[in-house]
């Protein structure tokens, strides 16, 4: 009897679920679907499906750039492209090109404003660019955004965008004419690559929010109120409007039908010329005469109705989802693991891409301690490290050997004449040259290292290495991340310890936690050598931040304490240089200085490996520094079949 009842229960349950799960129309509550996106068809609409590995923590751009913790690449992937900026980078080459601006700005001019001297530049904005609420994007929006950053003293990334040390004020000279004033003459990093890249917020939407926040009293409370605001139906001037976020699961953006740049054609010529035009609307050309062979040509979209960012907890599941066609592309700053990429290679309907990363891992020296303070020692260490052997033989291509202080992929700013010490030398020659370098500087051994007959190994290990002042080279420590955190750097550290020890340099690799390394190197006298890495920006003002002696303080970025007055002078000049070609020349000189002085031995960069559904997607190009993930998946240019 009981069994019959149980069967009846199961049947009833199944029937009820079937009835209950027939989707019934439920009115959408206010706030979920932005008015400007309601026209987007749901059935059969083209959706670009992206996989990500972490949840959004904010949909508020003030918070993204202002709170610190929310400044994650995952937030950026979703929110990128929604807010216009005056200027931007061209595809692949990273030329500085107008975006909201109609053309290049007027040259900087010194003038007097309210009794003080300021440096000003004027910019004309494109006419007809609109927010998705139908209002024009005007100079007032720019003025409002910059003034809010200034008034509320927003920190974190806003500081590097609107530098309070330089920015004075902005003024709308008309709806489409803007004047930006600086307290002192700004360099490229402050103006062209700083505030000119500022994401512009809609004044109509944000002014009341900021006014409400300002009622909160003191500055931290005001900032907190602004950061706490969760935008609902915030207007966009980008290709997509933010639609919905399901915490822990996905975020969705929908096509902005009024996107100004839709249909514009971008053409890059091999001679360096850049052309961007939308017939009958606008046209822009720069960097030479547009003639000869074309390096790139594509039309701007969006060509999809929506973009979904699905969250996966691990790469393995995400790769299975890609194989199955559940997603079209994986967004990850670290790309796809090599082992997983190999699984994807040759799969029908899937293409793989490999690009250089705009980053490097390095070995740093503490200049405050001997013998790291001696150039010959650093040069000898650089010679002894066989990057090609580790990357090719040990790591099987998981890393790319690097030499420059600006990665070669950053074509405009990279110094091509950078020397590559030890490249392609065999072991015997490396050791011989390192020994010779040290000897020439006055280093001596009790037992000099000697290579075996076949030249492949050190037969007699060096012992009793003394510095030019006669003192024994002290035991040194190389701080490096453990294999759990980064197996590549751990492998490098172990091999460096081995090679240096062979010639009598007493160094011990201490593979430890990331936090331990950071804490140790924050104390100027608490370390010898360390191994960490940098993710870099396109404009190389980091050449100043990493190596100018003014940053050689506790918690400063020049952790090794490198100090060279001539380098300092040039680096300071880079910060204030206003001419692009001059800046390029200075950056090139700085790189040569570093290659000679070797405050770091740049070790390697990791390739960004990516994969996508080639049976569904068509990208205008796939060769780009840092990969397609750096372009947030090229949502406004990708064509989905």
């Amino acid at each position: 009897m009981r069994v019959i009842w149980l069967w009846l229960a199961l049947v009833a349950l199944a029937l009820s679920i079937t009835i209950g799960c027939n989707k019934s129309p439920v009115p959408s509550p206010t706030g979920i679907t932005p008015p400007q996106t309601q026209a987007v068809a749901q059935g059969g609409s083209k959706v670009y499906k992206l996989g990500v590995f972490s949840d959004l923590t904010t949909t508020n751009l003030w918070t993204l750039y202002g709170s610190g913790p929310d400044n994650t690449v995952w937030n950026l992937y979703v929110l990128a492209g929604g807010h216009p900026s005056l200027y931007g980078y061209s595809d692949q080459r990273f030329d500085w090109i107008p975006s909201l601006a109609e053309g290049f700005p007027t040259p900087l001019k010194e003038e007097t404003f309210q009794g003080r001297t300021v440096w000003t530049a004027e910019v004309t904005l494109k006419k007809g660019v609109q927010w998705s609420d139908g209002k024009d994007v005007t100079g007032d929006d720019f003025v409002f955004t910059a003034a809010t950053v200034q008034d509320l003293q927003l920190t974190s990334n806003w500081v590097s965008i609107v530098d309070p040390e330089f920015f004075d004020h902005a003024e709308a000279l008309g709806p489409h004419r803007l004047k930006v004033a600086f307290k002192k003459k700004p360099g490229l990093s402050i103006w062209q690559f700083g505030i000119a890249f500022m994401p512009i917020m809609s004044k109509a939407y944000w002014e009341p929010v900021v006014a409400e926040a300002k009622k909160q009293g003191d500055l931290p409370a005001i900032q907190k109120a602004l950061f706490s605001h969760a935008p609902q139906n915030e207007p966009t001037a980008g290709g997509f409007a933010f639609k919905r976020r399901e915490k822990g699961a996905f975020a969705e953006k929908v096509k902005n039908p009024g996107y100004y740049f839709a249909g514009s054609v971008v053409t890059e010529y091999e001679n360096g010329a850049y052309v961007e035009a939308k017939p009958g609307v606008y046209s822009f050309s720069a960097y030479g005469e547009p003639s000869g062979a074309k390096a790139l040509e594509y039309t701007t979209g969006p060509f999809v109705d929506g973009v979904i960012f699905s969250i996966y907890g691990n790469q393995e599941s995400a790769v299975l989802a890609l194989k199955k066609g559940e997603i079209d592309f994986l967004l990850n700053p670290n790309g796809v693991q090599r082992g997983l990429l190999e699984q994807l290679q040759g799969q029908p309907g899937i293409a793989t891409i490999e690009n250089a990363a705009n980053s490097y891992r390095y070995l740093g020296f503490n200049f405050r301690r001997a013998p790291m303070d001696q150039k010959a020692f650093r040069q000898a260490v650089a010679l002894l490290i066989d990057k090609e052997f580790i990357t090719r033989t040990v790591l099987q291509g998981a890393a790319i050997p690097a030499y420059g202080y600006v990665p070669p992929g950053n074509v405009f700013w990279h110094q091509p004449k950078i020397p590559e010490p030890g490249k392609d030398l065999n072991r015997a020659d490396r050791v011989a040259q390192a020994v010779q370098t040290l000897k020439a500087a006055g280093f001596t051994w009790e037992t000099e290292p000697r290579m075996g007959r076949d030249g492949s190994f050190v037969e007699v290990r060096g012992k009793g290495l003394r510095m030019p002042n006669g003192e024994l080279v002290p035991d040194m420590e190389l701080l490096a991340p453990s294999a759990g955190y980064d197996p590549l750097r751990a492998t490098f550290a172990i091999w460096i310890e081995r090679w240096l020890s062979e010639v009598g340099i007493p160094v011990r690799a201490n593979l430890t936690g990331f936090n331990v390394i950071v804490e140790r190197i924050n104390n100027p006298n608490g370390f010898d050598m360390w191994m960490l890495g940098w993710s870099l920006t396109n404009y190389p003002d980091y050449l100043e931040a990493f190596f100018h002696s003014r940053h050689a303080v506790a918690d400063g970025l020049n952790r090794g304490g490198y100090a060279n007055p001539e380098y300092d002078r040039l680096a300071s000049q880079l910060l204030v240089e206003t001419d692009m070609q001059q800046a390029k020349q200075i950056a090139g000189q700085l790189q040569l200085f570093l290659a000679e002085d070797l405050p770091y031995v740049v070790l390697y960069t990791s390739p960004v490996l990516e994969a996508y559904r080639s049976d569904r997607l068509k990208f205008p190009y796939t060769d780009t520094l840092d990969g397609i993930q750096d372009l947030s998946g090229m949502t406004t240019a990708v064509v989905v079949e």
Binding site: M1, R2, W5, L6, A9, A12, L13, S16, I17, I19, G20, C21, N22, K23, V26, P27, S28, P29, I32, Q42, V47, K49, T63, S67, G68, P69, T155, S156, N157, V159, S160, F227, R244, E246, K247, G248, A249, E252, I308, S310, I311, Y312, G313, N314, S317, L320, K323, K324, G513, F514, V518, E519, N522, L532, W534, T537, Y542, A545, D555, G556
Partner: protein
């Protein structure tokens, strides 16, 4: 009993205080602090890092920070999460708790039920191939490398056979225009489950009082009415298809968790049953001529239930803690990953909040288990 409960409460408070103190200093013992993560951003000058430290109170002396945490704990305010600034710790926990609870509570109950049922059978039919195969496979699954096994389950049942989704707790295409959030649906589902459990429990008590419990069809009828009412309510809600989507996504992780963990309960039940079967009252029951099924289910299994229920209560408390591996492999971000990320990034308020939350539940579970002993075994009395 009242005196005992008061003493237990006091013990809970003292233990909780020690737990909070120990957790705080253990997290603080890690090198660096939350601001370390900004020290490698070339765009953030040291002044900004200092402001981050000041903003989160990390520039204050350790003693002061400890007292602040004690105060926050005592007032139930765990402060603002560093890594989810400006969200409060409570908001973060409440956001993640429903999806963790829905998955892990269900998995725990299913796993215990499966383990109890199998354990009972193994003890009853000793020495056969069923016992050997169930024990070997149970222990093998219990000791299997969890991430590998979970990935294999996904690969086989989701990727190759296509029976279930490839992880996650919902399908974005189904939810694109959903009128409610997933957390709301999880909340409703948990409420439904809890309501059914409470109603069934009360109904069984009532039936026992009325002496109708032994009429097999009555409990079954009550169960059917409860479940059918719940399903009809869901059907009329207009969001039933969303709950079904979540249920579809729950099957594979629950199956995996059950396969991995049922062996513990199975062996516990088996051992407990074997001891019970040696008792005189089992011999007496058989001597009375009771059917074997009645002897097994009503006399042996019920008395063997005591340690199993205790274990279940503790497991339920820890179920809200989630599981880092399961959450990660099945793309089900919940309390486990939250706690791990908070500890790794030294988001002290969030780590403390999550730990205290779980610790509190564990201590309450211990107290509840003590009280349950009395209910389940009338021979036990506390002085």
């Amino acid at each position: 009993m009242a005196g005992y409960l008061l003493r237990r409460l006091l013990q809970v408070l003292v233990t909780l205080f020690l737990f909070v103190t120990l957790s705080f200093f253990l997290i603080q013992a890690q090198p660096g602090d939350y601001s370390s993560f900004y020290s490698l951003n070339p765009k953030l000058p040291p002044e900004v890092q200092s402001r981050v430290r000041a903003q989160f109170g990390l520039d204050r002396p350790l003693g002061e920070q400890y007292l602040l945490h004690l105060k926050n704990f005592a007032t139930g305010n765990f402060g603002v999460s560093f890594s989810h600034y400006p969200q409060s710790v409570l908001e973060v926990i409440l956001e993640r708790l429903p999806r963790t609870a829905a998955l892990f509570l269900t998995a725990t109950v299913v796993s215990f039920y499966a383990g109890f049922f199998l354990g009972k059978m193994l003890a009853w039919r000793r020495g056969g191939w069923v016992e050997y195969s169930a024990t070997i496979s149970g222990v093998a699954l219990f000791t299997v490398f969890t991430p590998w096994f979970a990935l294999m389950m996904i690969w086989l049942f989701a990727f190759k056979l296509g029976w279930f989704p490839l992880g996650k707790f919902l399908d974005p295409l189904v939810w694109r225009n959903a009128p409610v959030s997933a957390n709301q649906v999880f909340g409703y589902m948990l409420f439904t489950g809890a309501a059914i459990a409470v109603i069934l429990f009360l109904a069984m008590l009532l039936l026992a009082q009325l002496g109708l419990r032994r009429r097999g069809w009555l409990p079954a009828a009550v169960a059917i009415i409860c479940v059918a009412s719940a399903v009809i309510a869901w059907a009329g809600s207009g969001v039933g298809y969303l709950a079904l989507d979540i249920l579809k996504h729950m099957v594979l992780p629950i199956a995996t968790l059950t396969l991995i963990s049922f062996a513990g309960t199975m062996l516990l039940t088996r051992n407990s049953m074997l001891e019970t079967l040696r008792e005189d009252y089992i011999t007496a029951a058989r001597a009375k001529g009771l059917p074997e099924k009645v002897v097994r289910d009503r006399h042996a299994a019920r008395n063997a239930l005591l340690p199993v229920v205790t274990s279940l209560v503790f497991s339920l408390a820890f179920a809200v803690d989630g599981g880092v591996i399961t959450e990660s492999v099945f793309s089900w971000p919940g309390m486990g990953l939250t706690l791990l990320d908070a500890v790794l990034s030294e988001d002290l308020p969030l780590a403390m909040g999550a730990l205290v939350f779980v610790g509190l539940l564990a201590l309450v579970a211990h107290a509840v288990a003590d009280v349950l002993y009395v209910y389940l075994d009338p021979r036990i009395r506390y002085q």
